[in-house]
């Protein structure tokens, strides 16, 4: 496993990303990761808050188009995240903190899918159940955990 991570770290792409002083290398990928986060967690937070009662004038079924936006944010972060990972694979890939981050992200995405089903699948479309509210709380907590573990990785 260590060899795979080391090999990944030594690839031309990973080396360029890590060692090039260019702003288009590591800094740009890092910015893309922040943009994806803002889109994904931003949209998710807006939806979660609505489910929990804020902005109650909004008909919740009208918020379904937020999901494609969230998937785009996730795609941007999966790609930029993979790029960031390979620059330091041997360290990140063996730390509990990073595994915790991936686990939170995975759990948050599962919650996202479950929430979509709960809110928008017939026959209870647009109805906010207590189950949905539980999922909304879980979503907020999981994304906060992902952000926290992600930020703390800078201190590894």
């Amino acid at each position: 496993m260590m060899e795979m991570l080391a090999a990944l770290e030594r690839t031309g792409f990973a080396s360029w990303l890590r060692e090039s002083g260019s702003i288009w290398a590591y800094p740009t990928v890092l910015t893309a990761h922040t943009v994806g986060l803002a889109i994904l967690v931003g949209a998710s937070t807006a939806l979660d808050l609505r489910v929990l009662g804020a902005g109650s004038g909004i008909e919740v079924s009208a918020m379904e188009p937020l999901f494609p936006l969230m998937w785009w944010g996730l795609a941007i972060n999966a790609i930029s995240g993979a790029m960031l990972f390979c620059t330091d694979a041997t360290t990140k890939g063996t730390t509990l903190l990073f595994m915790g981050k991936l686990a939170s992200v995975a759990a948050a995405v599962i919650v996202m899918v479950l929430l979509r089903r709960s809110l928008f699948a017939a026959p209870r479309r647009g109805v906010i159940t207590s189950g949905a509210q539980f999922l909304a709380v879980a979503s907020l907590l999981l994304w906060m955990t992902a952000i926290t573990t992600g930020r703390l990785m800078a201190y590894l």
């Binding site: 702003i23 804020a54 079924s61 937020l66 930020r151 201190y155």
Partner: protein
């Protein structure tokens, strides 16, 4: 003037606390990212609606979420002030920080103008209506400037006098 500000701030006990307590900076950074998610998520959604997307959501109703966007902004203002007081020279000497402040100003002025001049137009809009050009322009300025704030913030360690 900047030099006096820097030396004055660095002499404060708040500055010493921020710099010398190891957990403060990472916790503030984490809160800063959480705050930006709330701010960009809610204000960004409103901006997208102003641009004419998500038309099934009435704008007036979306504004019900704004207080939470404001919470995000306040969290970031407080953590931002703590960063600044902790290490003022690091920011004052960094061109990226000045760009960030400039775009914060643009976002703020744009929001102020919107709040004070567009209220009546806002409430005249029905749920599925397209938005007038003024809304589209101000929505675009808002979305663009908040993403520029994010960009210049993220670039702080890399552009200008890197820390």
């Amino acid at each position: 003037m900047m030099h006096t500000l820097v030396t004055t701030l660095k002499a404060t006990s708040l500055s010493a606390w921020v710099i010398n307590t190891p957990s403060v900076w990472p916790i503030c950074e984490t809160l800063h990212f959480i705050g930006l998610s709330m701010l960009v998520g809610i204000v960004g959604l409103l901006d997208l609606r102003l641009l004419g997307f998500f038309r099934r959501i009435p704008i007036a109703a979306l504004r019900g979420l704004l207080p939470w966007g404001l919470v995000g902004f306040v969290v970031n203002l407080v953590t931002g002030v703590l960063f600044f007081v902790g290490a003022p020279d690091q920011y004052v000497n960094n061109s990226a920080w000045w760009y960030k402040v400039a775009f914060l100003g643009v976002a703020g002025v744009n929001a102020g103008i919107f709040e004070t001049t567009q209220a009546s137009a806002l409430f005249r809009l029905g749920p599925h209506d397209d938005t007038p050009t003024t809304f589209k322009v101000m929505g675009a300025v808002s979305l663009g400037s908040w993403f520029m704030v994010l960009y210049w913030g993220r670039m702080l360690p890399f552009i200008g006098n890197a820390f």
